[in-house]
Structures are given as structure tokens and as C-alpha cells.
Symmetry: D2
Subunit: 122 residues, 4 copies
């Protein structure tokens, strides 16, 4: 799937980075999932006290930090996908097809209930 070009390139570079440092020994799927969760929380941190939660409430430094935390999340996601033989693009399309059926446009449109009922897309 040529659509994986960017992710494949990142995967190759990340695996090389890890191999050069002999760090694969730390990268069990459990540990990678744990690290991904920690990075996701670090990404959440600059947003947690914002009144409106908008990008313009972040400082320039925070925006750059957020940019790098997003990269960290993506890196652990790619390394985990590599170990679990998950094609991220294919898995995404598959999940999107599920969500299309779960939340038909006719029911969902302008229907905040999906969200207030906490049955948001999963």
C-alpha cells in the first residue's frame, strides 16, 4: 500500500535508531503501550487548565512542545504497530468503516447526544 510511504519511512528510521542503541530489549508491546500512554498525557498537560481549550491560548514554547509530544506519540504508535504487525493505514480505514456504521449521518447530524451520552466514536 503506497499510502503507507510516510509512515513506512518513519518506521524504518525509528527501527534503525533503536537498533543502533540496542534498545529493542526494552520495547515489549506492553512497555511501548505504556510509553505511548505517558507521552499522550504529556501532550495533554499544556491544555489541561485552558479556559477554552483553543490553540491560541498556548504560548509559542508550548506549541513547540506540543508538536514534539505529538511526534513522540506517533513514534511509539509506529513502533508498537511494527511489533504487532499492524498496518496503521489499513487499521484506520477498517475502524473508520466501523464508525460510519455505528454513527449514521442521519442520526448523528447536529446530535450532540452522541457526545453527551459519552457514546462518542471509539
Amino acid at each position: 500500500m503506497t499510502q503507507n510511504d510516510g509512515l513506512d519511512m518513519l518506521r524504518q528510521r525509528l527501527k534503525q535508531f533503536v537498533a543502533e542503541r540496542d534498545w529493542a530489549q526494552f520495547h515489549t508491546p506492553k512497555n511501548l503501550a505504556s510509553a505511548l500512554s505517558v507521552e499522550a498525557a504529556e501532550l495533554l498537560e499544556p491544555f489541561q487548565w485552558l479556559k477554552n481549550g483553543r490553540a491560541d491560548e498556548l504560548s509559542v514554547d508550548q506549541k513547540q512542545a506540543v508538536r514534539h509530544e505529538m511526534a513522540d506519540v506517533l513514534h511509539y504508535l509506529i513502533l508498537l504497530a511494527d511489533q504487532l504487525d499492524v498496518n496503521l493505514i489499513a487499521a484506520s480505514l477498517e475502524k473508520m468503516a466501523i464508525n460510519e456504521k455505528r454513527y449514521p449521518v442521519a442520526n448523528a447530524r447536529g446530535n450532540a447526544k452522541k457526545y453527551t451520552d459519552q457514546t462518542k466514536p471509539k
Copy 2:
């Protein structure tokens, strides 16, 4: 950057999915970062009690659930990147360059200290 082809395709489809349901009103960067963090924890959940943390300790159902949770994490990451005007491939390459300098191969190779000291790649 043609390397974004797969992620760009997903981004377009996700934005269409959200627009058709009028759900953008819920998607402040803060809320998206929060949702990403919740999905990351759901991804961690099936791994949390595993003895060795390896993929072969997961059931077939758990593997499929993990696959879909990874898709959820990626979706919120892409939607957040879209709102913050972050090119995920470019941000990843930028962060990798930082990590290359932070953890030189000569120091890091076979050096678990990086990990035991909790100064892992961020």
C-alpha cells in the same frame, strides 16, 4: 511532502466524517488531546496485567481490540495535528533529529542506563 500521502488521505476522510456529523464543535484541541489520552489508556489496558508483555499473551479478540485502539489514537492525533497546523511527518523527522543528538550511539549502545535513569527518548 508526498510522504504524507497516507496520513493526508486519512485526514481528509476524518474531516469529512466529522463535518457530516457536525461534530467539530466538540473538537477543541484540549478535548482532542484529552480523547487521545483516554484512547491511549484503552490501548494500554489489555497489556496491563501481562507477565512478559508480549503480543503472544493477548487473545485473538484482544489483538483485534488493540488494532482498533491504535486506529483511535491515530485518528485523534491526526485531527489534533490538523487543528494545530502540525505536519506529523515533518514534526517526527524534527524530533528524531533531536533524539539523535540527545542520545549519541557511542554513549547509548548497550547502555540500559538511559532507560533505568528514566532519561528515555522524549
Copy 3:
């Protein structure tokens, strides 16, 4: 309920700390839940690469950091409980009674399946 003595004392002190700084304006239940989640991830961080996950794999500094992260988690939990009028001791006893029924000793004893099936106590 006199059993809340310790938690009540902490709650009073935390509320005074917040009031003196005029920080209640930031402490919506949503923001407190978000901060609690971020602190929980910071608590997880020193453990994430450990081989066996035991306390003796942490350095003295890490143990002290863990101790303080546990305090942070408790603080946000107490502040959130205060806003939601939740008595933490009563809620705990209530949840424990649910778990007693959900996982009868006869079925659960020596039965790792509860954990490998990811149907752990919630």
C-alpha cells in the same frame, strides 16, 4: 464517618491552599480529572521500562519522585471528590461490595483467567 479523618484533614488543607491562591477558577471537575490523569501518567513513567516492575528496580531519587506523584494523584482525587460531593471512603466501600459479587472467591481463586481475559476488577 470518622474514618474520613485523614482525608478530611487533607481536603481542608487543600481547599485552603487553593483558596489562598485564587486557583478555584481553574478547578472545574473536567480540569481536575484531566490533571489527575496527567499525574497518574507521571507516576507510571518511572516504572515503564522496568524489566520486572518491582520497587527495588527504582533508584532512591525515583522512589522519592514516585512518593510525590502519589501525593499529587491523591490531591486531585480529593479536590474532585469535594466538587462532586463524593465521600471517598463510602464510595470505596460501595465499589468493594460490587467487586465482591463480581468476582466470587470460589471462581476467582488461583484463576488468572480473570486477568488474562482483561475482566479485572473495575
Copy 4:
């Protein structure tokens, strides 16, 4: 320290619950920290799409779920504290004393900068 009465009572009951089911084998500090983080995210979930983040935006069912998720967080915190020989009340008072010095009232009062700069109490 008599102030631990409520937490000590919970700790005793939780340890008995775990012992009766022979579940201590799953409860390494790493796994408990991981479970605590997962429960914290489940606690965050009902709040994540709320406009204002206030308690009155939750349904009755969500409030009950939140109550039980708070109990889950507390349970894993107590079990982790037990394994790490951490007295939660003492650790809390210790951390509060640190925060008192880190955020003097004179500087912090009415000063949202502490929060917008992301240098919130840790």
C-alpha cells in the same frame, strides 16, 4: 498516625480481597501504576467532551460511574502505596509543604500565570 484510619481500613480490606483471590501475583508496582493510569483515564472519559466541564453536565448514570472510577483510582493508589511502604497521609503533607514554598501566596494570588505557564502545582 491515627489520621490514616479510613485509608488503613480500606488497605486492610483491599489486601484481604486480593489475597482471597490469589491476585497478588499480578500486582507488581509497575502493573499497579499502569492500572491506576488506566482507571484515571476512565475517570476522565465522561468529562472529555463537556463544554464547561461542570458536574451538572453529567447524567445521573455518569455521576455514579464517576463515583466508582474514583474508588478504583483510590484502590490502586492504596495497593501501590502498600507495596512501596508509602504512608499516603504523610506523603501528602510532605508534598503540600513543598507546594507551599513553590507557590507563595504573595506571588500566586490572582495570578493565572502559574496555570497558563503550565507551572501548576506538581
